[in-house]
Symmetry: C2
Subunit: 387 residues, 2 copies
């Protein structure tokens, strides 16, 4: 058996635990600055959070941006970003960056793929070119990107799937996680305080989730991600899965609930002990004409907003809500103006970031349970149509 | 004959005249602030300069925004903007606004139209609804919009056209101009310092242009616009037309060369005595992937920029050129990201606004002729494809 290497960082500091829920309040220290936990990560798949500039993200105090190794590997390619310095320089974002490995994208986007223990062969969804990526290469790429928080290559089983398939995928994920960590340490990929997380798979099978969590925690990482969730399973099953895994996660490391979710789901996941979240929902829904508020979603193309001169959200302090009315934004959407999409994306991302800020304050003040109950009582998750 | 009413404003102050060219330096005083002339007006057809927010326009010191009566009348409709207060409130832009009358749009966009002396009947290009607008109604709408500089309804002859058609259009334009002014004054549409300009037509016929200029100047307006240019005629003919009209324009009013044009054309038009310019070129070309520099246009989608880590324009002080590289912008365009279009539009509009600022400085310093010659020597007007 290989020696269990420690990544050696002491990057996370737990500041407080809620008394009534599993909510936690902490600080995650990265090479590009400290992040207060729990926090939300706007998704910048192609090295840009859709419609927003890095100045916009600065202005709304985004603590971090998530980007995607698979997409950047395909376009513009690692060589371009290496010549730019790193991804921070390339996209002019000098706060922390987490890079997803691309495992999920290989399994969801690539038209042809072949998985072996060595790695994964796939065709680019962009130009059909065939690529082969190993766990080591993914870490090497993330090193070049200058990622503050690296995710290793994993195999994400679809939902639903047979337990045999889920087991195979989680065991390969575990072997790849070990290789990723070995490579991360032995090749001195990691610069000062670069972090590597482990990803827990196992689909919606309790035993497999527990097996995966134990194996990944045994290897030892700077943080732990619950992957393979929000892939089509019922929401109740997603939270059940979380409840199986959470007790097995060490208190001293941050926990990342991958690809989650609606605002109410984030509030619930914080109560279930999670610290980190990402989803394309605020930008994607913005581009679809939806605005998030504490009451749920508003479909801003609707005729009811034609002469509505209120801000998107009366309670919101973002610049869009300070400066523009629902009527104007509805007009922009109706006229097909890009600014309408941008203003909605801006507000929605601000709403998500600020929601996590409110959650942190509530935990600090010992009122998180009350905040949680109150938020869930008012927020209508799918008030106007499904995801 | 009707009495010739004076609009009575003394809104324009001529500060200096160039000794070597017809270039002028002045101040145009409006209800929403003074504008240093000559100046460029970013085009916000639908109440938004495409891809840019009013904060963006503030940040780049845009002195004014041009919007369009026809488009706003169609969408969202005058009633909505009236309830919002005015167009300034609706679009959150509190500096001056010039509103085009929509004459050009009725003649270029509306699928079916019928022009009589009373006004123009047309179908909306948006939903096919039939509308009828008179010169008086256009002024009334512009009053509701709270326009600082109103353009009256005119008839823009196509290019090429028969002299009979051109004469008919210019004479109708003159009659409409008089009715517009009568209505503007008699109905007390004008709030403090709202201005009304006259539009000179006459296609590319010297006698008709002179006839139109004399008739419009005789009516008397706060400024004079040369309309019906840049409608497909050769550039040399456009400047010839300008040379016919300019000597007939009073020195004491601002002159607006409508819908012009490329950067080199603006420099030439300033030398020919013009003060005001508008065109969709900087935003439209931005959305097409082009960046303006002192040397001409760069087609940013080209492969040559893949690893070019310079700013769009080394000489530019705009935030895009301070923060982002050609390589990154090329990547955004290649990946279909909206931010790429926005960054190019931002830079291009900044380039236009700043070019007029440089022109004003050169006039003040008595070096405009040198600036003019130098700019035209370096700027390649159609370096990479036609308009």
């Amino acid at each position: 058996m290989k020696p269990i290497l420690k990544t050696g960082s002491n990057s996370f500091q737990l500041l407080a635990k809620d008394r009534e829920t599993l909510a936690r309040r902490g600080i995650l220290r990265t090479a590009h600055g400290d992040i207060q936990t729990p926090f939300f990560m706007p998704v910048g798949t192609n090295g840009t959070v859709k419609t927003l500039s890095s100045e916009d993200l600065q202005e709304m105090h985004s603590p971090i941006v998530l980007s995607n190794t698979y997409h950047l590997f395909i376009r513009p390619g690692t060589a371009v970003i290496k010549k730019a310095g790193d991804l921070h320089s390339f996209m002019n974002w000098h706060k922390p960056i987490l890079t997803d490995s691309g495992g999920y994208q290989v399994f969801s986007l690539a038209p042809l793929r072949k998985v072996t223990d060595e790695g994964v062969q796939f065709q680019s969804h962009f130009d059909g070119k065939t690529h082969f990526l190993t766990p080591e290469e993914v870490i090497a790429i993330e090193g070049i990107l200058g990622s503050d928080i690296m995710m290793p290559l994993d195999e994400c089983a679809p939902y639903p799937c047979e337990p045999e398939h889920a087991q195979e995928a989680l065991e390969r994920t575990t072997r790849w996680a070990r290789r990723s960590k070995d490579f991360f340490l032995s090749k001195k990929i990691a610069k000062d305080r670069q972090l590597l997380f482990g990803i827990i798979q196992g689909s919606s099978f309790k035993e497999l989730r527990e097996q995966s969590a134990k194996a990944i925690v045994e290897i030892g990482f700077d943080g732990y991600a619950v992957g393979g969730v929000s892939v089509g399973e019922p929401v109740s099953l997603m939270f059940e899965t979380l409840a199986w895994v959470e007790p097995l996660l060490p208190e001293a490391q941050p926990r990342y609930f991958m690809g989650i979710g609606y605002p109410d789901q984030m509030v619930r996941a914080v109560a279930a002990g999670m610290d980190m979240f990402d989803t394309v929902i605020p930008t994607r829904f913005g581009r679809n004409g939806s605005a998030f508020t504490n009451c749920g979603r508003l479909a801003m193309r609707n005729a009811e907003y034609i002469e509505d001169f209120h801000p998107l959200d009366e309670d919101c302090r973002c610049i869009v809500c300070q400066k523009y009315t629902r009527s104007y934004i509805r007009h922009l959407l109706n006229a097909g103006e890009i600014l309408g999409l941008k203003l909605l994306a801006y507000h929605n991302v601000f709403f998500y970031i600020h929601l996590l800020e409110r959650i942190r304050q509530a935990i600090e003040q010992g009122t998180f349970k009350q905040f949680h109950d109150n938020f869930l009582a008012h927020f209508k998750p799918n008030s106007e149509g499904a995801l």
